[in-house]
Symmetry: C2
DNA sequence: TCTAAACTTGACCATTTTAGTCAGGTATGT
DNA sequence: ACATACCTGACTAAAATGGTCAAGTTTAGA
């Protein structure tokens, strides 16, 4: 399974964006400063978010990024998938088409990981950016 | 988050053990052959399982491992913790005591990962070895 | 008692992933 | 025109992963 800082950064940045893009686009520099994430790394992340139509951007002075949908329409699933944090559980070896580990049958834990994957994805499908905004609306940071 | 092959191997091996240790202890060599897991790697894994009192062993010819409890008393949580597959979500930076990323406050996603962690742990606490045995009792492998 | 099977321990390592950095762009509002 | 901001791709240090290798110790059974 994969679920690392990159996914966390993406979510943090988008929450930041959701709170500040109401008037003008938000520059990555501002997000970088507020959230303590490297600017160069943010650019990589936003490149993916843009490809996946989660954010849009305008260039030039006073340019920046803004959400392409309303916060309640952006699910965490969308964000994590966009930055390649696919919530996939351990893969059984890929060489075999039907089974795992080169055997003819599925390994004994195969269904288990499938089930877990669903369990986690459900969690992320229910949560939207809006949910995170609510919980943090009073915070300064 | 961490959840890799090591955890999967541990679960696979223990399901195997649960099915074959009814008469005699099971050697790692047998498990290695049946499950397609490197013997040397299995030894590392079982060393941890033993330290955590999930299995016991006898030495010598015809020796091997056996479960120290009944399958329905061994939860997946126990197994995964034993092999250091702690289901921990991404850590916010550790230097700061109160907040994340060196800020005074918790980062906006802090509670989210906590919640996810609980969500996943609940899943693993409900599942026991016995549950996996049931689903696979008819399989040959 | 001898020996092979099996457990035990610890060091080592190749590969992959992660979390970035660096260097150079291109576009555009003022 | 120029500063600001987006955009792209190559690169990399450090850590994690998924093992291997070597050198034991222990003990059942011939």
């Amino acid at each position: 399974m994969k679920l690392t800082s990159k996914g966390r950064y993406a979510v943090m940045a988008l929450v930041d964006l959701a709170r500040f893009d109401t008037i003008n686009p938000v520059s990555l520099r501002d997000i970088s400063l507020r959230q303590g994430i490297s600017l160069d790394y943010l650019e990589q992340i936003f490149s993916k978010l843009k490809k996946n139509q989660i954010v849009k951007s305008t260039r030039g002075t006073q340019g920046g990024y803004f959400l392409s949908k309303k916060p309640n329409e952006i699910k965490l699933t969308n964000i994590l998938n966009a930055v390649d944090e696919k919530v996939k559980t351990v893969q059984c070896k890929k060489e075999s088409k039907k089974g795992c580990n080169g055997k003819a049958t599925k390994c004994v834990t195969h269904d288990l990981w499938d089930e877990l994957e669903t369990h986690i994805n459900t969690f992320f499908e229910k949560k939207s950016l809006q949910d995170l905004l609510k919980n943090n609306s009073e915070r300064v940071n």
